[in-house]
Symmetry: C2
Subunit: 334 residues, 2 copies
DNA sequence: CCGCTCGATGTAATCGATTTCAGGGATAGC
DNA sequence: GCTATCCCTGAAATCGATTACATCGAGCGG
């Protein structure tokens, strides 16, 4: 690899001039600039990032941690992150934590070591290694949550109004005449699960239907969707509708319904959450709460850039719009 | 951020000693080591990667480019990459090229600039910016393909035997008595599509069934699966089986069959490719060719590490095992 | 014709680590 | 008691860029 020294020598100028040609060309006389550029292309010179980073103390990288990259919801959010980051001249360091706190810590350390300028985390836990940083820097700590956080937590984040969204999904079911409804939540450690569950209870309460609710706790996975659906139906065969807190669990629910010989939506209506790419291609096409996944990622990047630029005086909560997408998996109660 | 200087001062030693404590502790006397470690924890010191990189000329990062991260096949491969990279002490720089050559180039430049020690690309095109590097360094260029390449191309890669796998899928259909079979390939620019297509013809030829083949070209997406299935059925309503070169296209095919009022597998059998997580939860559960996705990613990393370590004298082609998974979407020809 | 300003360029310090080489002290061997 | 050896530690060079400051020459006003 050619260094800036090589270019300087080849063009007969100092390294300072070469550096200026590359970053502030308006300070350099045109003939000199051309001479340098010729040398640059001749040598195929590209600045060494490590040296640049060391000098400027900026990495131009954003670290993104995700509990499971193979989950279509997360991968779609990451797509938005990657897009926005790239547009702003940043690249993305990916961390798949596999839901393991230990891995989360490892990535937290990376931020502390300044291997990235900022962190977007898509899980619900902030690594312990970063609580110091959060406490010391508060809203100016370069840490943002990409989808999971509650409005009241001390990190900037982008998210939808999960409580309202869940309430709307329930309203949809109540509107169709369902009164015995099974709900499969995500892990209750996760604020989004709690928010959505709160929305479920709000809607049920408003209709005086609390007694008809059956709550089960899943973990957002297909398998837990199967398992919890079977459990719910065994516990109460009179259920006519299911609301799953993720589309993946809804896929599992569809499986379970088939196993039980129940038809969707004729016997049991089903609502999912997220509107991943596959939701509309299921059989039946899934009614679900759509989240603007790419946009969540983009907003998270924007929040982070604001922090970099010192534009954030306080934690910011960006609430994006959700939308109940009614397809073929919900119908009038039998 | 505390620097190594701060630690040295606080522990009353030189920076050299601090560095040694952290990287070659066996060279340091125990009392000194303890004193330094105390200072390290007290100050919360973590070495600055940029400085380390500059000095060692290694970034400990692997760049992974992917045509579409939200594709479950790719995201699963990436999972394997991330896992193996992490285990080897590397982190992953993610590049979603969105199938755009321009973005691919941008990431190629990153490798040239040494922002990563190596590149794993999951698409089928090597960026132009890297052909120089490949030519200059040959098998020692830190570039590996993660799934798409043909055995005869000049890059190390991990993949399955696509030709054979496709032939087996066809054999399965012939074995069930199908003779009029529609095939939906991926873009023929991609070697895997061509290899699989070759396998299709091999199998058909062996059975003397070439005349019964109907070939359509898709792009691996759900939408193209819908579109090409409709086109195939319109062109030849007597088809009794479909073979799609990706599970996503097979999902689209299922949609299209429903639109046409055809039942799967009673009227039309369907075979997919990849065995993404959702394949077995479709209705009907999809018969498909399983690729060891995570393992592909892990192998790609291993190949790259071999190159880093100078263990690769020549391009290496690792062929992993595929497996035809027969589920409910295929049945005897009507 | 002198001094001042301004544009263009060079000099050199700096970022924070790693690593080579040299030196100092203790121990052991003779 | 003197030297050789072995540990341990420190001084300083180094990686490749950026950038504050210095310098130099040209042009211009008085």
């Amino acid at each position: 690899m050619a260094t800036i020294q090589d270019v300087a020598r080849s063009a007969g100028v100092s390294t300072a001039t070469v550096s200026r040609v590359l970053s502030t060309p308006e300070l350099v006389a045109e003939p000199t600039r051309l001479r340098v550029m010729t040398a640059v292309t001749a040598l195929g010179y590209a600045p060494n990032m490590a040296a640049k980073m060391l000098r400027t103390l900026r990495t131009e990288k954003i670290l993104v941690t995700v509990p499971d990259i193979s989950n279509p919801f997360f991968s779609q959010v990451i797509r938005g992150v990657e897009q926005a980051a790239q547009d702003a001249g940043y690249s993305v360091l990916l961390g798949d934590t596999r839901h393991e706190p230990e891995r989360e810590e490892r990535y937290g350390e990376m931020l502390r070591r300044k291997e990235a300028d900022g962190l977007i985390f898509l899980g619900h836990r902030l690594p312990d290694s970063l609580t110091d940083m959060m406490q010391a820097q508060g809203p100016r700590a370069p840490i943002v949550n990409g989808c999971e956080f509650s409005p009241d937590l001390a990190v900037s984040s982008a998210h939808i109004d999960n409580e309202r969204a869940a309430a709307e999904a329930m309203e949809h079911l109540y509107g169709l005449g369902h009164s015995r409804i099974g709900v499969i939540t995500g892990p209750l450690a996760s604020p989004i699960s709690r928010d959505r569950l709160a929305g479920v209870h709000t809607a049920a309460g408003a209709r005086g239907q609390d007694a008809g609710l059956r709550i089960a706790t899943g973990d957002f996975s297909i398998e837990s969707g199967v398992r919890e659906t079977l459990a719910l139906l065994d516990g109460d065969p009179s259920l006519t509708a299911l609301f799953c807190f993720s589309d993946e669990m809804a896929m599992g629910a569809l499986d379970a319904l088939r196993q039980k010989g129940l038809r969707c939506p004729q016997d049991v209506s089903l609502v999912g959450f997220d509107d991943i790419r596959f939701a509309k291609h299921l059989n039946p096409a899934l009614t679900t709460v759509a989240q603007p996944m790419e946009q969540l990622g983009q907003e998270a990047v924007r929040l982070l850039l604001d922090i970099f630029a010192g534009r954030s005086q306080d934690f910011q909560q960006v609430t994006l719009h959700h939308r109940l997408v009614v397809r073929d998996s919900t119908a009038r109660a039998p």
